[in-house]
């Protein structure tokens, strides 16, 4: 049976405390011109692994907190997830692969990623993230578009 899906929709997505997480999946096709920007980012971040092309179906927060299913666009929802899911802030000395990295600007989490590798001297991490509706990227923590800034905090979910 064919299932007809709307262009945009909100998925049922809840925190551990069963609070709905505001989200939106956008099934629209890529915009003309997007591919040029994807290639531009590949050129600017040569040492990163660019895993995918562009997608509007999910963003970095959707990658980290919703298994790539949808777009979580409100930083307040990220705060809700951190609280409800009992994330704990981790000092750099204790960061492990699997922790999450949040890039903060003026108190809001504007970007997120999953730590896939930790380097000790000097300390840095390799992160799997997604840049807006551009591609998924595995990159060193500071090898991001400069607009994301470098105010990075690490969190681990309570098991």
């Amino acid at each position: 049976m064919a299932l007809v899906l709307g262009m945009t929709a909100e998925l049922k997505l809840e925190t551990r405390c069963q609070n709905q997480i505001q989200n939106e999946i956008n099934r629209a096709a890529p915009l003309p011109g997007e591919e040029i920007l994807v290639d531009d980012l590949i050129r600017k971040h040569k040492n990163a692994i660019h895993r995918t092309r562009s997608s509007r179906k999910y963003n970095c927060h959707g990658l980290v907190f919703a298994s790539r299913r949808t777009w979580i666009w409100d930083p307040a929802e990220v705060s809700k997830i951190l609280r409800d899911d009992e994330y704990i802030k981790i000092p750099p000395s204790d960061v492990l692969a699997g922790d999450i990295a949040l890039y903060f600007h003026e108190g809001d989490a504007q970007h997120a990623g999953i730590v896939v590798e930790v380097f000790e001297k000097p300390f840095t991490t390799k992160i799997l993230g997604k840049w807006g509706f551009m591609q998924e990227v595995v990159h060193l923590a500071h090898d991001v578009p400069p607009e994301y800034g470098i105010n990075i905090e690490y969190y681990r979910i309570k098991s």
Partner: protein, 148 residues
């Protein structure tokens, strides 16, 4: 700068493409040179009219997807909030996912402001300034807020 259509919004589109949240986009557009140019050089009526036309039609190219947000933020930089408030009533704005959210945040954080350029060469009466120093002769009093 006579026409909104002629303004180069490629940088704004780049910001849009890497925006994970509307707040991120809004904050970046506030300091974007194209946005500032629009708010400084065009009237609220003209920007609002262009925005009305834009949201009522379909995007023609990639840049058209960010154009409404640029105009919205430009409206928030005008000394009168009425244009920004009117933008919420424009038919068709729901086609842009982040339009209503950004408009609401801009209204909630609105601070009437004016920008003024002062030519210190004229003000101080200097007449023999070296040309190499001329690029430093304009002091921009950005976002001066006489109401505070």
């Amino acid at each position: 700068m006579n026409s909104l259509e002629q303004i180069d919004l490629r940088e704004a589109f780049k910001m849009y493409s890497i925006s994970n949240t509307p707040l991120f986009l809004m904050k970046r557009l506030k300091t974007d040179s194209a946005t500032l140019g629009i708010s400084r050089n065009l009237s609220g009526d003209k920007i609002l009219a262009a925005l009305q036309e834009l949201v009522a039609s379909e995007p023609r190219d990639a840049v058209d997807y960010v154009r409404p947000y640029v105009y919205l933020v430009a409206l928030s930089q005008l000394p009168d909030i009425k244009y920004l408030q009117s933008a919420g009533d424009l038919k068709g704005n729901e086609k842009w996912d982040w339009f209503r959210y950004i408009q609401r945040v801009l209204i909630a954080t609105y601070s009437p402001s004016v920008s003024e350029f002062i030519d210190t060469q004229k003000v101080l009466g200097f007449s023999t300034v070296q040309s190499s120093a001329s690029e430093f002769s304009n002091i921009q009093l950005a976002e001066a807020t006489p109401w505070k």
